[in-house]
């Protein structure tokens, strides 16, 4: 999930009777699966939660370009380089679709980006891990985008219209990302040297658990989920989504001829799902708090990009003014 632990500001759910007439009207609309649009009345908590979630989602897309950008100049062939650049451009696009839907809620894009740069806004924990070898590009596409797809497919049904429409657009583009990632790994496993095959296994070993952490804490440790589910911002719980992801990914893992770094991972005939071992939540919270391997580097890179680009933005404004003057003269 690209948005983790989004605060809803609610301690306890209200019953329909406790709600104001406006609130009740709103909740009944949500219950009837009528999409909420920008101009509709909405509870302040709903608006704030959405701004938090959508901005966090957008930041994740933008920061998510960095681990991949690391490999643009190192891609093994021109074909792979073009594919990688197309994927990275998509991530920028996804970030912008999301910022644009966030702005319909009255939030300011620059202000939200400033919060990210000040360390006040979160982005997905996954992007604080380094991408150390070429197989990481495959594993990121397959596992990270794969986890994002599981989450985002469900979010297409989210209750806020502009967010839901951005998700539809994103989902259409996302499956290219996952397939190109899996194909990188498949090629390495089928045609690669032993050293290259080892790289694939190494990438999976490092990214497997962080990918599972993307879905956020277990449901009983996720105090904000309940309100988000009632508002239908969130449609499935963290654990449900995680299980869906594991169930669909393990057969793909086996097809590659690789293994997961989890001795407890095995098919459970009774439940019809894969069982898996305990997740290291300490690591998850550490990364979220800013102490992951790449947190500082990521934010520094983002800040530098904004600062170094100031002159470009200034020039664009000056040029636009000049053109207008000329047209008026």
């Amino acid at each position: 999930m690209y948005a983790q632990m989004v605060d809803t500001g609610t301690k306890r759910l209200k019953t329909l009777e406790e709600m104001s007439p406006e609130e009740r009207d709103f909740q009944e609309k949500v219950d009837a699966e009528t999409k909420i649009e920008a101009k509709n009345w909405m509870p302040e908590g709903y608006r704030k939660t959405l701004v938090r979630q959508i901005s966090q989602h957008a930041h994740s897309e933008i920061v998510g370009m960095l681990p991949e950008g690391n490999w643009v100049t190192r891609a093994p062939t021109l074909k792979r380089k073009l594919q990688l650049m197309a994927k990275i451009q998509d991530e920028a696009g996804h970030g912008l679709y999301l910022y644009s839907s966030m702005e319909t809620l009255g939030a300011d894009r620059d202000a939200e980006i400033q919060k990210l740069h000040d360390g006040k806004a979160k982005y997905s924990s996954i992007f604080n891990y380094p991408t150390l070898n070429w197989a990481d590009m495959g594993a990121v596409g397959w596992l990270v985008d794969g986890a994002a797809i599981v989450n985002q497919v469900v979010l297409q049904r989210t209750s806020y219209g502009p967010y839901s429409r951005a998700m539809v657009r994103i989902c259409k583009e996302e499956s290219f990302h996952q397939r190109q990632g899996y194909q990188i790994l498949l090629d390495m496993m089928r045609e690669g040297t032993q050293e290259q095959k080892d790289m694939v296994q190494d990438a999976i070993n490092r990214l497997w658990w962080p990918a599972l952490m993307m879905f956020g804490p277990h449901d009983d440790e996720s105090p904000n989920s309940q309100q988000s589910m009632v508002w239908k911002i969130k449609r499935k719980s963290n654990d449900e989504l995680r299980q869906m992801f594991i169930d669909q990914t393990v057969p793909q893992l086996e097809f590659l001829g690789c293994t997961a770094p989890d001795p407890d991972l095995k098919w459970n005939e009774e439940t019809g799902h894969y069982d898996f071992g305990p997740i290291n939540w300490k690591e998850f919270y550490d990364v979220l708090k800013g102490n992951g391997p790449c947190n500082r580097e990521r934010i520094d890179t983002r800040r530098k990009a904004i600062d170094d680009g100031t002159w470009v933005r200034d020039a664009a404004v000056a040029y636009a003014a000049k053109k207008q003057q000329r047209a008026a003269a």
Binding site: N40, G93, Y97, R313, K323
Partner: protein, 93 residues
Amino acid sequence: MSEWRLYEVFVRSKHGLNHKHVGSVHAADNEMAMENARELYTRRNEGVSIWVVPSETITASASDEKEILFDPSEDKVYRHASFYKLPDEVGHM
């Protein structure tokens, strides 16, 4: 960026179809809005024509005007073809 104007983007997906709202972009001027819209919303043959319109120039109906604007059309069933029942012998009309 927020210091830049906000534009709404409309894309015609195919010749013969109407333009549809797809989202928004920020830009320093109209020309840049067009370039940004092309980069952002038509990377995969999504369209054959783009409109960009400064958001502030759009006048939208407010949600609390919904009844005033749209209710009157609901009680005029005689505006629909299905209101007029014709004998079967007349055939398709």
